[in-house]
C-alpha cells in the first residue's frame, strides 16, 4: 500500500450524499485541510494545506470517502515511474481519482492503468486549492473504471466557485446516453494527427475507426491546419506560465529552505537548486529564458494559440466530436521525453477542450481519445458511456 499512497486517510469515512460510499484518491497537488500537500516536490516537504480545495469541499459535501493521496511527479508535471496515479483505481482499491491534467497527465495515467481518464473543458472545474503550474491549460482530471463514474464525480465537482475568478461562464450540462444516435452522430478524425502515426499504432487506430463505423457512427476526416503546432505552443507558453507559477515556491513563507545562504538571493538560488528536480528546473529555466530574453517568441506563441482556438471551434461546426489517437506513455525524465509523452494529448490543454481517454476493449491494445467543443463535457461523457455499454454487449 505504501508504494501506492503517499498519505492514507486515518479516518476514511464518508457521509450521506450522491457520492456516498465512493472511494476517491487524489493527487498531492490538491489541497485537503490538514493533509500533507507536497505536490511531489521536495521544495514543499513539510507543507500541509490550510484549506480544502473547492473540489475537495464538494466531494466531502456529497459524501465521498477520501481514501488517500497518490504519489505525483513533481508539481504534477508529466508522469514517470514515481507517479502512482491510476494504480489504486486500477487495483480497485478506489473507485475514482482526481489529478491535474497539465499536458495530458490524467489521460496518460489512465492509459497506463487501463482506465477511463477525463480532462474537463478549461475552467469548468474550479482550480482553487490545487497547486497548479500552467494556469491557462490545466484542469482537474478524473480517472475511473467506467465513464459513468467519471460523470457522477464531474457533476459534483464542476461549476462556478467564488474563489476561482478565472472561470468562464460554464455550467455542466449532462447529456443522456439515449440522445447518442450513431447514424446522426459524426466523429471527426484529424488528418494531421493520424499522419503522425506509424506501424502498429496506425493499424490499431484504423482498426478502432472501422469498429466505430461498424457501430453506425459517421466517420469524417477533417483537416486542422496547425495541429502540429499545439505541442510547440504548449511547450513555450507552458514553460513561461510555469516559471511564473513556481515563483511562489521561494522558501520564504512555507516549504524547505536550504541552510547557509549569506543573503536572500543565495537563499532563493540554493533552496530552489537543492529541492526542485531536474525536469521542473529545466522547465522553469526554459520559461525564464522566454520571459527575459525572447518575449517576442512568447507573444508569437500566444498569437498562434489564439488562431488554434478559432480553428478548433470551427471544427465542431463540421463534427459532433473528435476521435484522436493515443499512445502508451513513455517516462518523462527530460523535457523532450515529456513532450514525446504528451504528443497526442497536449492539443486539448492548448485549446481547452474536454477530452476522454478510452481504454482498449482488450488489454494490451491501444486506446484512443474523444474530444468535443469547449464546454461540451456532457457530450464526451455520454459518448464514452455509449461505447462502454456497447462493449459490455448491451444495446445502446
Amino acid at each position: 500500500m505504501d508504494s501506492v499512497f503517499s498519505y492514507q486517510n486515518p479516518d476514511p469515512s464518508g457521509s450521506d450524499g450522491t457520492l456516498s460510499g465512493l472511494k476517491i484518491a487524489v493527487q498531492p497537488t490538491i489541497g485537503i485541510a490538514g493533509w500533507p500537500a507536497v505536490a511531489g516536490s521536495e521544495a514543499l516537504a513539510g507543507y500541509s494545506s490550510p484549506d480544502d480545495a473547492t473540489v475537495i469541499e464538494r466531494l466531502k459535501q456529497n459524501g465521498a470517502v477520501l481514501a488517500g493521496m497518490t504519489h505525483a511527479n513533481e508539481l504534477g508535471l508529466g508522469i514517470n515511474g514515481k507517479s502512482t496515479a491510476g494504480s489504486p483505481t486500477g487495483a480497485k482499491t478506489t473507485d475514482a481519482e482526481l489529478l491535474l491534467d497539465l499536458a495530458g497527465e490524467a489521460r496518460l495515467s489512465a492509459a497506463r492503468n487501463n482506465l477511463w481518464g477525463f480532462k474537463p473543458s478549461w475552467g469548468l472545474v474550479p482550480r482553487s486549492g490545487i497547486a497548479g503550474l500552467v494556469p491557462s491549460m490545466e484542469a482537474c482530471g478524473i480517472l475511473a473504471n467506467d465513464p459513468g463514474t467519471i460523470g457522477t464525480v464531474l457533476k459534483v465537482i464542476a461549476g462556478p466557485d467564488e474563489r476561482d475568478f478565472s472561470q468562464p461562464q460554464l455550467e455542466y450540462r449532462e447529456v443522456s446516453i439515449e440522445s447518442i444516435k450513431p447514424e446522426q452522430f459524426t466523429l471527426g478524425i484529424i488528418e494531421e494527427a493520424t499522419t503522425l502515426l506509424s506501424g502498429d499504432t496506425r493499424d490499431a487506430f484504423h482498426q478502432q475507426m472501422s469498429e466505430l463505423k461498424k457501430a453506425g457512427f459517421q466517420i469524417r476526416t477533417l483537416s486542422w491546419p496547425g495541429y502540429g503546432l499545439c505541442l510547440v505552443v504548449h511547450r513555450l507558453v507552458g514553460s513561461v506560465e510555469a516559471s511564473s507559477a513556481a515563483g511562489r515556491y521561494d522558501s520564504v513563507r512555507f516549504g524547505r529552505r536550504a541552510p547557509g545562504a549569506k543573503n536572500w538571493n543565495e537563499m532563493y538560488l540554493q533552496s530552489r537548486g537543492a529541492f526542485f528536480g531536474t525536469l521542473v528546473k529545466s522547465y522553469l529555466i526554459q520559461g525564464a529564458y522566454f520571459q527575459f530574453e525572447r518575449y517576442d517568441a512568447y507573444e508569437n506563441a500566444c498569437r498562434i494559440r489564439a488562431r488554434l482556438l478559432k480553428v478548433a471551434a470551427r471544427l465542431f461546426t463540421q463534427t459532433d466530436a473528435l476521435v484522436l489517437p493515443a499512445q502508451k506513455p513513455v517516462d518523462a525524465g527530460t523535457l523532450d521525453r515529456l513532450y514525446e509523452q504528451c504528443k497526442f494529448t497536449a492539443y486539448a490543454n492548448v485549446v481547452g477542450l474536454p477530452a476522454m481517454y478510452v481504454p482498449p476493449a482488450s488489454a494490451g491494445n491501444h486506446g484512443f481519445e474523444l474530444a468535443a467543443a469547449q464546454g461540451a463535457c456532457g457530450r464526451v461523457i455520454a459518448l464514452g458511456e455509449y461505447l462502454h455499454r456497447l462493449r459490455a454487449g448491451g444495446k445502446a
Binding site: R127, A131, R253
Partner: protein, 476 residues
C-alpha cells in the same frame, strides 16, 4: 550653453479601500505585523487572485477625476522579479493594457499662466510586503511583514511635459487635491499613501532632444521633489558641461545631505499576461455611472465661489484646496455667516488654530454651527473681534455654546453710552496732548484715544460706539 530639463513623474497612490486588491484581508498595513494576511496574499499553493470591485471603482473615480479615458478593456500582467517583499516572484500590475489612458492636470505656472500637464496612463497594481532588516545581534535577520502585500495601488505615469521643479511640485499638489475630492485616497507623501518618482534628463534649451534619463526615488514630500529635481538639473548640467556621459540609472534623494546618490542600474522586469485574472471589461454605461458620482471638482468649485460669493480667485482656490475646507466654508454660509467673514475666519483663525492643536478639520470640536453662532454674536455687536478670538480659543476645550462662554467670562461687549461716557471723559482729561494733536488735524491721535478707552474698559467696549462718542465730544 543654457540647459532645460525634461521631467516626467510616476506617482503611486494607495487607494483607501477597506480590503486588499485580490483578497478580503483588511487594507490596514499599519496593524500588528502579518495580522492582515490569508492564503491568497501569502500566495500559498493553489490560491487564486480575485479582483476587488471596490478597488476597481475607486481607481476608476480617480482616473475620471484626472480627466483620463477609462479603457473598456484592461488586463493584469505579472511583472517578474524576485525579492523577499514579493510573495510570488511577480507583482500583479497592468503593464500592457492599463485601466485608463490620457488625462491632464492644469496648474498655475510661475508666471501666473495656466499650464496643462498631460498624463500618459493610469494603471492598477498591488503593493508589496514591508521588509525590516535587523542587523544588530550575532546573526542579522530580515523580517517580512505581509500586511501591505496586495494593498491596492494605482500608478499615474505622466508625459515628459515638465520643465521645472516648480511645475512638478504644483502638479503634485493639484493632483493631490483632485484625488482627495473624488475620495479615492488621502494622498499623503509623509504617510506614504502617495509616492512620487521622477525621470529627468536635460537638453540645450530650445531643442527637442530626448536624452538619457535618470530616475530619482525616495522623495518623501512635495518639497523634496522640488529640491531633488533642482539638484539633479544642476548635477546633470555640470556633468554634461564637463563632457561626462549621463547613463540610465536610478538615484536616491538624500534629504539630509540634499543630494542624489546612485542606487543601481535601471532594471526592466519582463511583464507577462496573467492567466488567472480575466480581462476587465467595462461597459460605457458603467463609466457614465461613475462619472455621475464625481463631486464638483476644485477648478469648477473655485469658479463658482468667485461668482456666487464674490471672493477673489486666490481666496476661492485657497478654500477649494481640499474638499473639507470648502464644505466647512459653505456650511458657515448656510448658517447665515457673510461670505467675506466666513472666508476671513476660516483662513486666519480656524485653520491656524487647528494646526496648532494638531487637529483635522473633519474632527474639529468647533463645528460650523458653533462657529456660525459666534460670528453671529460678533455681527450683532454683542462681542467685539478680540473677544471673539478669545472665545474661539475657549471653544476648543469646551462643548458649551459660545453664548455661555461669553457670559461666564464676562466678555460681552459694552455698548451702553452712559457706562462708556465716564471712561471717555476720563481718557480725554488724562491725555490732553493727544486731544490737542487731534484738534490740530492729526487723525492718528483718534486711534490712540480709542485704544485708551478700550484698555480702560478691559477690552469689552464696542470700538464703533467709542469712536462715535469721541468724535462727537471732540468736534464740539
Amino acid at each position: 550653453m543654457e540647459f532645460e530639463a525634461v521631467i516626467g513623474l510616476e506617482i503611486h497612490i494607495e487607494l483607501n479601500c477597506a480590503t486588499k486588491l485580490f483578497c478580503d484581508c483588511p487594507n490596514n498595513p499599519g496593524d500588528e505585523a502579518n495580522i492582515n494576511t490569508c492564503p491568497v496574499c501569502l500566495w500559498f499553493p493553489g490560491s487564486l487572485p480575485r479582483l476587488s470591485r471596490a478597488a476597481l471603482e475607486k481607481a476608476a473615480l480617480l482616473c475620471l477625476g484626472l480627466n483620463c479615458e477609462i479603457q473598456t478593456k484592461s488586463a493584469f500582467d505579472q511583472k517578474i522579479y524576485y525579492y523577499p517583499d514579493q510573495p510570488k516572484g511577480y507583482q500583479l500590475s497592468q503593464a500592457h493594457q492599463p485601466l485608463a489612458r490620457g488625462g491632464w492636470v492644469d496648474i498655475t505656472d510661475e508666471d501666473g499662466s495656466v499650464k496643462r500637464l498631460r498624463i500618459h496612463h493610469v494603471h492598477m497594481e498591488e503593493d508589496v510586503a514591508k521588509l525590516m532588516h535587523e542587523l544588530d545581534g550575532r546573526t542579522p535577520v530580515s523580517l517580512v511583514d505581509f500586511n501591505r502585500a496586495g494593498a491596492p495601488l494605482v500608478e499615474i505615469v505622466t508625459e515628459p511635459d515638465f520643465r521645472t521643479p516648480h511645475q512638478a511640485m504644483e502638479f503634485l499638489k493639484t493632483l493631490r487635491t483632485q484625488v482627495r475630492y473624488v475620495g479615492s485616497s488621502e494622498c499623503s507623501m509623509e504617510n506614504g499613501t502617495m509616492r512620487a518618482d521622477a525621470n529627468i534628463s536635460i537638453r540645450p534649451k530650445g531643442t527637442d532632444q530626448m536624452n538619457t534619463k535618470v530616475e530619482i526615488k525616495n522623495m518623501n514630500s512635495v518639497r523634496h521633489v522640488g529640491d531633488a529635481l533642482a539638484h539633479e538639473i544642476s548635477r546633470q548640467s555640470t556633468a554634461v558641461r564637463s563632457g561626462e556621459a549621463i547613463t540610465e540609472h536610478t538615484r536616491l534623494w538624500d534629504a539630509d545631505k540634499k543630494t542624489t546618490l546612485p542606487m543601481r542600474e535601471k532594471f526592466e522586469a519582463p511583464c507577462i499576461p496573467d492567466p488567472s485574472i480575466p480581462e476587465i471589461i467595462i461597459q460605457p454605461d458603467e463609466i457614465s455611472a461613475w462619472r455621475a458620482q464625481l463631486p464638483e471638482m476644485p477648478a469648477a468649485l473655485a469658479e463658482r465661489f468667485v461668482k456666487q460669493y464674490g471672493l477673489s480667485t486666490e481666496e476661492a482656490t485657497y478654500l477649494g484646496s481640499d474638499p473639507e475646507t470648502a464644505s466647512y466654508f459653505e456650511e458657515l454660509i448656510r448658517h447665515g455667516v457673510a461670505a467675506r467673514t466666513a472666508m476671513h475666519w476660516v483662513s486666519t483663525q480656524l485653520l491656524p488654530a487647528l494646526r496648532q492643536r494638531n487637529l483635522e478639520l473633519t474632527h474639529s470640536p468647533v463645528t460650523p454651527q458653533r462657529l456660525a453662532r459666534l460670528l453671529a454674536m460678533l455681527a450683532a455687536d454683542e462681542i467685539n473681534a478680540a473677544a471673539a478670538r478669545d472665545v474661539l480659543s475657549l471653544m476648543f476645550d469646551s462643548d458649551a455654546p459660545p453664548d455661555d462662554i461669553v457670559k461666564a467670562r464676562g466678555l460681552g461687549q459694552v455698548s451702553d453710552t452712559d457706562e462708556l461716557a465716564t471712561l471717555v471723559e476720563r481718557v480725554l482729561s488724562e491725555h490732553t496732548a493727544a486731544v490737542a494733536d487731534f484738534k490740530s488735524g492729526q487723525a492718528k491721535a483718534m486711534g490712540f484715544l480709542i485704544g485708551q478707552v478700550m484698555q480702560a474698559s478691559g477690552g469689552k467696549a464696542n470700538p464703533k460706539v467709542i469712536k462715535e462718542m469721541l468724535a462727537r465730544t471732540l468736534s464740539v
